[in-house]
């Protein structure tokens, strides 16, 4: 198990790919996204459907349709995708699930976990969906051939 569920990883990778691919305008189809980010197409379709309902990504049907991102969406933090898909379990509660553990009565590991989780949250909040589109990423290519 990684930090995120598989569903969430697909959601992040898919959204990053849409951002990059449609940076100059246009749309990209589920088929193309799925192929590029190595995810099962119909499953990804469901995930993006959900993100679309939540206005995290945009889509249109019909010829020349597909997924894209508007300006607002590009500015959204990664944290919104993670929260939408995995909830906030990564950021809240006791790290080891102790009922009696809280801010007031912290378990011995509480503050250390809290520190780590705050860092995760900070990273996901400061990173926006559109952050890695341009030359900013210094030649690093986050996706495979055909990106």
């Amino acid at each position: 198990m990684g930090l995120f569920s598989k569903t969430c990883e697909y959601a992040i990778r898919g959204t990053f790919f849409i951002a990059r691919k449609t940076a100059g305008g246009g749309r990209v189809s589920i088929k193309d996204i799925a192929a590029a980010i190595d995810s099962p197409e119909p499953f990804l379709a469901k995930i993006l459907q959900d993100l679309s309902r939540r206005r995290i990504v945009q889509s249109t049907k019909g010829p020349n349709g597909g997924f894209y991102l508007n300006e607002d969406s590009l500015k959204r933090p990664l944290a919104e995708i993670v929260e939408a898909v995995d909830g906030n379990g990564l950021f809240t509660g006791c790290g080891v699930g102790l009922k009696q553990c809280s801010e007031i009565n912290p378990c011995p590991l509480h503050n250390e976990f809290k520190n780590i989780r705050n860092q995760i949250q900070h990273l996901l909040k400061k990173t926006s969906i559109g952050d890695f589109n341009g030359d900013i990423n210094l030649g690093i290519i986050p996706f495979g051939i055909g990106n």
Copy 2:
């Protein structure tokens, strides 16, 4: 989803409880452990069975039997429980599952995730199962009534 699977949380809580409860000698039964750490008894039994096979906890059958920890086990890092139960997915690979991402060709988030995961690993490695038994924990009580 938190950092760990539920199975792993039960394993950690259970082992901590065994450590504390048998610090002065003796054994503790699954029944008592399950009640104290708020986990389903037969499920916890399976988990501890597994940890027992891996020599992470000790057990004996029969009257006055139950679970306990020997000196070696008390010194083991929490990381061993986590690895045994959840594997090393939390510490390795790309944070968002990018195939093309690696040390040599890192994705834009690679190093930030790596840093966070190293911290998690360090915390789990430096913390031993027996660490929170004595006065060390400064009056903090990690378990409920009857601990």
